[in-house]
Symmetry: C2
Subunit: 448 residues, 2 copies
């Protein structure tokens, strides 16, 4: 390549110009790839990909990569207003002003790329519609599963499939914590502190450990697979803060591992969408996804089982996914086209609204751990209440004995309805022979 070209402040006619909004970890990763893989990317696209502007409120702190100082600005709107910029990449996160910036960029006929899962999950509808109306592309591969090409797989590979189910480990922090708890037998609190020390968990870990982040990602996948207007409040969400080392040990005895799963299953009449800790058979691939890795097990009507695994976060893995969106769009720009693949792989006008099944109606297998008084007749009382609500017991484990006189009684069930289970546990927890709240963990056996 002609090195003289790089000195010119005006982009070459054939160059494709990129503006970044947000110059944090992932932004640095994207710039690093633009610099280090410059020649490879030019060969892929047929044009140079040139960073033209980077906006961040903080442009003075040194980063691991250094952009041309002329590129730096504190004004995100200057990126959007730059007539030479073809692709605006939003990597600031959060709802506002990220949402307004993306809408403004789209209105200014810029193609956009974002890694912002919370934003796509809550405002995907209007962003996708705006992109289509303005004839620009919107890339969001990095919003779910980091480096894993799960979005492209659903939009471009499984095009002739009906998606029967998606089971995914969609949050690396929770998976890191559960893996450590499983491997070391430590408590949630101890492992959380270690995860925070190692940088795998935020100072305020709520978003990750309460399942909220996973529910955003699940909402995006559900929308790609089943239809638009997924309401986050219709997705059942339960995090991992209630998981104890004791339940992990019982799971092991039963042949399971506990993972925080995002689950979407098409039942024909409605789609189930839920995020909760789940016991899965220890030989299933998902049970062997450890540390901070993410993974997705998708069943397509023609493909059968597909399983995709990789880093769900981190500077370079996420930047790799952002770059795949940038190259996809740049290849369109080279050909003078856009909207080749609609945001959800079907034009917005053809997308139907989704019907989610109320969580109360979901049927699943269950694991219960009762804290029971160690006295004859307890098992009979508990199983009587379960039986009244058509909850059939599959396994019972009772072992150990605590000083206080309470023993853990563990049961697993055959398929039962969530509402029946909750009512039964409410009744059981009021028995005088039951001390403390019963632990409930859902079990997925037969769909995996």
């Amino acid at each position: 390549m002609d090195s003289k070209r790089e000195d010119k402040s005006e982009p070459m006619k054939d160059d494709i110009s990129i503006g970044l909004i947000g110059f944090g970890t992932v932004g640095c990763g994207v710039l690093k790839l633009l610099q280090e893989k410059k020649d490879l990317l030019e060969k892929r696209v047929g044009s140079r990909l040139v960073l033209r502007k980077v906006a961040d409120l903080n442009i003075t702190t040194p980063r691991i990569v250094t952009p041309d100082p002329q590129c730096l600005t504190t004004d995100a709107l200057a990126v959007i207003a730059d007539p030479n910029i073809d692709i605006v990449v939003e990597l600031m996160g959060g709802y506002e002003p990220a949402h307004s910036f993306l809408l403004k960029a789209i209105a200014a006929k810029k193609h956009v790329v974002t890694a912002n899962k919370a934003l796509i999950a809550t405002h995907g509808n209007d962003l996708f519609r705006a992109a289509e109306e303005n004839g620009v592309d919107i890339g969001f591969e990095a919003s779910v599963g980091g480096t894993i090409p799960i979005i492209k797989t659903l939009k471009e590979s499984l095009v002739a499939n009906h998606i029967e189910s998606i089971f995914g480990i969609m949050n690396g922090t929770s998976n890191f914590i559960l893996t450590k708890m499983t491997d070391d037998g430590e408590s949630f609190d101890v492992v959380l502190k270690e995860a925070q020390r190692l940088g795998f968990a935020e100072a305020d870990p709520t978003f990750d450990v309460e399942g909220i982040d996973a529910s955003h990602k699940l909402a995006i996948l559900v929308s790609l697979a089943y239809g638009k207007n997924v309401k986050l409040e219709d997705i059942y969400v339960e995090g991992i803060t209630g998981i104890t080392e004791q339940d992990i040990a019982f799971a092991k005895d039963l042949g399971y591992r506990i993972k925080l799963l995002g689950i979407a299953v098409d039942r024909g009449d409605a789609v189930e969408a839920r995020v909760h800790p789940t016991m899965i058979p220890f030989r299933h691939l998902l049970a062997n996804v450890n540390a901070n890795f993410n993974a997705f097990h998708v069943v397509g009507s023609a493909s059968g089982s597909i399983f995709l695994y990789g880093q769900g976060a981190g500077m370079m893995p996420t930047a790799s996914a952002v770059m795949s969106d940038i190259v996809d769009i740049a290849r369109n720009i080279r050909k003078g086209i856009s909207s080749r693949v609609p945001a959800r792989s079907i034009h917005e006008a053809d997308m139907t609204d989704i019907k989610l099944r109320p969580f109360d109606e979901v049927r699943s297998n269950y694991y219960f751990r009762f804290s029971a008084v160690d006295r004859p007749g307890v098992l009979s009382k508990i199983s009587g209440i379960l039986g009244e609500r058509n909850i059939s017991i599959s396994t019972v484990i009772q072992k150990g004995r605590t000083k206080e006189g309470a023993v853990p009684v563990v049961m697993t069930t055959y398929k039962a309805r969530e509402r029946d289970v909750r009512e039964a546990l409410q009744a059981i927890d009021q028995l005088d022979v039951v001390l403390g709240k019963t632990v409930l963990i859902r079990v997925e056996d037969d769909q995996l």
Copy 2:
């Protein structure tokens, strides 16, 4: 949709017409998807995908799907010559006449799709060049890994990555046999017969069990990742016919499972490409890919580890991949473009020739099983010969005793060079205390 349209023998102006050459298992799957997913596919593409001609030498045997009788022909050239056909899908397999048909279709400015791994592995260069020169697209997703989107992931997702390594289970038949041998403790011959009975192995299984099929797939992936003109004869190929239940049991004791892997590793100065039975740690995801499934573990410089898993063959899984190529091309046709993504994701003119490392120079860990006379001093003789060639022993297992007086002595080594290992084994096998040929299986520990 207006049902009257379907009666017209001339395609609508906006329809995209498909011609199939080869109406066997996968061809039936493709037609099934075109029929059953007609509405979904029309929504994806924005045009109807219409089957216009199907060529097969046998058009009289009933199939599970029935095309319009007017579509059927025994003349493949009639498909290529039909001016209304936009996309020619070759599903006949084999080298000739498939190769000529594809070249003729390309010369007639048809886009082409093929699932023919042997053909792409051996004639990819001229097919890709011809496609580029004629401004048409060539899709071959189904040629490697069946339904797994490994080709698209390399071409479109990992675009900003240098590929550091690819480890894959690329042949379902071999994996089915090794899984059965591992689970049931049966011999290769017994399990092969069962696989043939179940339809997982051909009457002549050579292509699959000798690693040839896997080497074709590896050659395609190596070419996508590292450069053109991969010579099949430069890829070391060893099949699974020499694997015994005894070695599988020793592998288990050592914490390994045996899988037939296709391996490509970039060593900086050269690329290693090899297919052979390999011991891998039993907790690795690849070790848990069972039955006839395929899987790929790819390490990208930015993405880190990515793992993709699914059905590597079969009617509907393969048809699903073929349809993803058809939809990709149809979306281009709708936009009036082609060659948006070059066949190898880089224009042919920019592809460099690959340099493969001679197999003799490859360094690996090894497992040896010696049949030794049960007499003092044997271990010293064997380890002496290994030591002379800088082969350091990591583990020794000696147990059991046969009636004939020979005992299996198992060793694993630290990293050693293939040539040194072969020379050492040749010398060892000539010792009078060694009865029979020593078994050698390569071990991959640290790269996985």
